[in-house]
Symmetry: C2
Subunit: 377 residues, 2 copies
């Protein structure tokens, strides 16, 4: 039996998207394909509430973070990296590889970064060019207040660079209103597309950084990519055509459902899942939780990795373990994109049975009842 | 009507491959998926006749060329770039972006690079660390003699770095016997997979360059990627899972057909197509032609771009135009991967009808007869 995915990305892909992905490929230098590319760009822009340019790349979300660093900065530039989990730390690691100087602002995993503290750091480092931040930190389930952080950065003439890989399509994003200058994301999470396509949106402040950058970028060169998209609706290099078909279908499905409905659905799924796991004795790691993934803290004596393994092997449901320092201490239930409220009893049911099978104390049905209480409300 | 693709990549994707690509995604951090990754790595290694490591990346073929430069060299290193078309020039352009010093060895488009001349250049530049070359130059259809070039480079202690994107699966490659140190390729051509996965194979000499390199690479970091593949059969960042399914199926199909049979099929397709277009009055651009694409030179008064457009719009067959300086002067017929001998009358038939429709002088059936004469032999 193939397990059902309740992982925080890649997520379960809807059948309609898979069926687009499996179509015969169009040549990428044809007007028909350009129509698809422009359509996807426009839809992504609307989803981010931005009139900025949206550029598509064939790569993972991490590569898109790297592309932002390589296009925006120069060797020796100073930036502030907000770190509250594995992906925030990745901003720092990428900057280190490129010789960009990092001012680290780390908080304990599970916490969110404090906008006021960002302001203090920008006071101390008036030469900092940018603030790099994760919107939804998938490793801890913590949400950062991008609106407030971007406002603080703007007040200090620093650009705000946001990774929104696990928030886009889960939480509202108002790129232009919030004053976010550069936003990167992958499409393999709430955008319900098999992994492989990522994108960046960039405003005038971002482009001004690009013109000054001296770091090397060829495949990820934003200017070259923009020119080709602008003039021909094409990417400079052969893109993952099949995945762009899938993304187009996924965005159409999102339009059909309605964005407000999508955000409300994720809000309900977040609340219901948190209520269910709390009723089973688990803690919730983040103070300010995202709605796309629930990061469950295991009480003393329960091994998160064992739960993940047993749910997968014995009950056909795949959730994710904790990353790095959280390994064994937490497990993560993804509920975004193609997951609906009706799917949640499957994962909570499997969790209850896995606990029983492992000999942990559990009142079978208690998590499910708590789940239902939220869903019926 | 959707046109049939006879383009030199992306190529027509077999139904069995598409059906794998359209499958529900497995999570990329599972043993089941690791089995697929290792299987694909092994098959690619066997196809290249190498015992070297094969690393998979989600990106285009160009990005893989860039990754080789970023991983192997340092700022100020000197390399010799062999250029006989658009892709050879790309080696130079990438090196320029990274501050790697390029000794250019350009020949006229359509020619192949001369191994003896490579030897002379290495004499003149004993500090050159590497020779960068394209095996099958897709823009001109010219084949380079990699065996001879690698031998010359070896004699001067320079590493040989080969792009084999449009030769792998078309022409025999003996990476280890020939002494090729680093080989990069995409899988969207003769490997019959929708675009998005590329790979690099690297030997001990290549790895020695990697340890000395000071250029930045994070997503494309060969060492990080090797470690993760070695220990867990995983990629460090989320890969294009769907395309790896497709690649696995495509490689299985190639195994089933037999590699010698595949090389023989491409040889026949190359000879037959060249004979057919010559019978219709076109020239063949390269002196030493590859078997995956036929680059047809238009006689005075015939516009290659018009032929491409008419074949596509009126006869449902998509071939490719000339790149850069060759635009209008040539057109390119791709016949690799999923294309069989039986498909060739479709493209030659459409070419004849397009010529007639455009009012060019053509003896209908003459190209097809010449094609048949080769196919029946």
């Amino acid at each position: 039996m193939k397990s059902k995915l309740f992982t925080p990305g890649p997520t379960k892909i809807p059948g309609a998207v898979l069926s687009s992905v499996g179509k015969q490929v169009l040549h990428h230098r044809t007007p028909e394909f350009s129509v698809k590319v422009r359509h996807v760009q426009d839809e992504l822009g609307r989803l981010l509430s931005t009139r900025n340019d949206v550029l598509l790349f064939t790569c993972s979300g991490t590569a898109m973070m790297e592309a932002a660093v390589a296009n925006l900065f120069s060797r020796g530039d100073k930036v502030i990296c907000l770190m509250n989990g594995a992906f925030g730390e990745r901003w720092r690691d990428i900057c280190n590889v490129y010789g960009v100087n990092v001012v680290e602002y780390a908080v304990e995993w599970g916490q969110s970064n404090d906008p006021a503290r960002v302001g203090e750091l920008l006071e101390q480092h008036p030469d900092a060019k940018a603030v790099l931040v994760i919107h939804s930190e998938t490793s801890t389930g913590a949400l950062n207040d991008i609106k407030a952080i971007a406002k603080v950065a703007e007040g200090h003439d620093a650009v705000t660079v946001v990774d929104a890989t696990s928030s886009v399509g889960v939480h509202e994003i108002y790129m232009d209103d919030w004053g976010v200058d550069v936003l990167v994301a992958g499409t393999q999470k709430a955008l319900m597309t098999p992994p492989g396509i990522s994108f960046v949106a960039i405003n005038g402040n971002g482009w001004r950084c690009v013109t000054k950058s001296d770091l090397p970028a060829f495949y990820f060169d934003f200017t070259r990519t923009w020119k080709r998209l602008q003039s021909k609706g094409q990417t400079p290099f052969t893109p993952a055509v099949s995945l762009i078909y899938g993304l187009e279908t996924a965005l159409q499905m999102m339009d059909d459902e309605g964005w407000n409905e999508i955000y409300a659905r994720h809000r309900t799924m977040g609340e219901a899942t948190r209520a269910a796991v709390k009723a089973l004795g688990f803690g919730i790691l983040p103070e300010n939780p995202v709605n796309g993934v629930t990061v469950c803290v295991c009480p003393e004596g329960i091994d998160g990795n064992q739960i993940v393994r047993t749910m997968d092997d014995d009950f056909g449901v795949r959730v994710a373990g904790g990353q790095l320092g959280l390994s064994g201490k937490v497990f993560r239930i993804g509920h975004m994109g193609g997951i609906r409220e009706r799917d949640l009893p499957m994962v909570i049911g499997a969790l209850e049975l896995a606990m029983a099978k492992l000999g942990y104390k559990v009142e079978i049905g208690r998590g499910l009842s708590a789940l239902q209480d939220v869903l019926r409300a």
